[in-house]
Symmetry: C2
Subunit: 130 residues, 2 copies
Amino acid sequence: MESMIKDCELVLGKEECAGSMKNVLDALYVLGGKWKLPLILSLIDGPKRFNEIQHDLKGISPKILANELKNLELNEFVERKVYATTPVTIIYEETEHSATLRKVLYELSTWAEQHREKIRSSMKEKPKQT
Amino acid sequence: MESMIKDCELVLGKEECAGSMKNVLDALYVLGGKWKLPLILSLIDGPKRFNEIQHDLKGISPKILANELKNLELNEFVERKVYATTPVTIIYEETEHSATLRKVLYELSTWAEQHREKIRSSMKEKPKQT
DNA sequence: GATAGTACTTACCTAAAGGAAAGCGCTTAC
DNA sequence: GTAAGCGCTTTCCTTTAGGTAAGTACTATC
């Protein structure tokens, strides 16, 4: 565990880091695609019904939404609750597990912000250095 | 800054978090695709020439490699150095800026590992709960 | 001067993600 | 009984990421 950090920080590219890369690829796969993050954030905002989410995420088609919801259910980021009202009410809400995402999303967010600043400022310095 | 964390941890889904999501989408875009991470890791392992990288990342086509290298150069993760040998030698190496990635990649990696364990263990508990 | 190597570029093709539109089974409301 | 709403599913189409194969400009070597 600790040794992996050191290895990666100092040498990297060795066996441990190959495993680490696999993990990162997994993470990108789980979070990747056009709608997963917006969908997760929409549910963090509060439990919602299918049509509410569809309205929230302007532009998503019902097919995609149904797929993404199933996927996120499998990954335990959302829970699908069926209420025996008549007609049945189906409500999607975030799970406790989805909270573990927040830290990592926050890290990603701050990094991306710094990165954008970095790129923007070096574009000013040398606008076209061909 | 600090307030953003609190908002996101407690309420989320508000204006600040919309910006935060945009950042995360940016980050996923910068790191996304099949080859960017393997390519970055290959260069963290050491500076390399075009053909060396092509050999290292088995299966990448020269077209894709050239594209990815340009992209990563624009994002300042790799530097393209041209040596006036004859014939010219072109060497790609990681930048200092690419080091900022390591922390965030490590966070992603550990999260993904925990997530995989979580999903695997709950699949054992209830193999098929349809 | 033919061959081979380096660092690509160009043109074409395929597969997968995603979008648009319609339908389906259920229900309540009119 | 017909219309309308909900939670989807199905079908078909477009877009795009990525793959294959070939070619180009340069040089060095035989």
